[in-house]
Symmetry: C2
Subunit: 133 residues, 2 copies
Amino acid sequence: MPDKVIQVDLAGDVPAYQQIVNVLRTQFVAGAFQPGDQLPTVRQLAMDLGVHHNTVAEAYRLLAQEGWLDLRRGRGATIIARPNPPPSPEAESQFARRLDELTAKALAEGVEPATLAKQLDSLAGKLRGGGGR
Amino acid sequence: MPDKVIQVDLAGDVPAYQQIVNVLRTQFVAGAFQPGDQLPTVRQLAMDLGVHHNTVAEAYRLLAQEGWLDLRRGRGATIIARPNPPPSPEAESQFARRLDELTAKALAEGVEPATLAKQLDSLAGKLRGGGGR
């Protein structure tokens, strides 16, 4: 079962709502939840993370917009079955650009090129094995 | 010679100053500039990108903090020689986490796992060939 822990770094350069979106989306893609599963309520997750409840509400709203969640009033946030999206050349080129940026940042912060290459290999292997979806 | 084009996506989910930092850092790491080279002035780059000059000034300030730029008043932004930073386990685990998030986002947006794996392979090859630094 994939990890379901959410942590936010309030001092980081990624806004807290975006961090919550990123972590949850990664868990959804990894299959950590089934359609019908409930997420914690906005109030509960906000308390757990120590953030304003608007921050969690905004994250849930964005995830609902992406097709992952049903947010019917009074029912909390329910995972829904999301159809596979059509192929997107924009998403592909955005991935390439952000990957370059992420790698440059890690190199600038002193991570060895060989270490990064090993992580990239390992992820590529997982994607080929079908573990990435 | 690596690419020196900067573009910002004002509608994107990454703040404009952060996009400028990311693009310039990636160019610095790729060796697009030599110590002593000048960046465009804050005013000039802000005009070119159609952003407020505070946005560019903030990006330059962060890059100076990272050791890439000298911002002496009246001299503009000058590239300086930056010593290699010490290895950072935090940077390594942050890379791993962000890489997972980036990959999940691309999968969620319809990019094929095999396409992502190919991009990861190609980058890993460049890093091993010494082209990444």
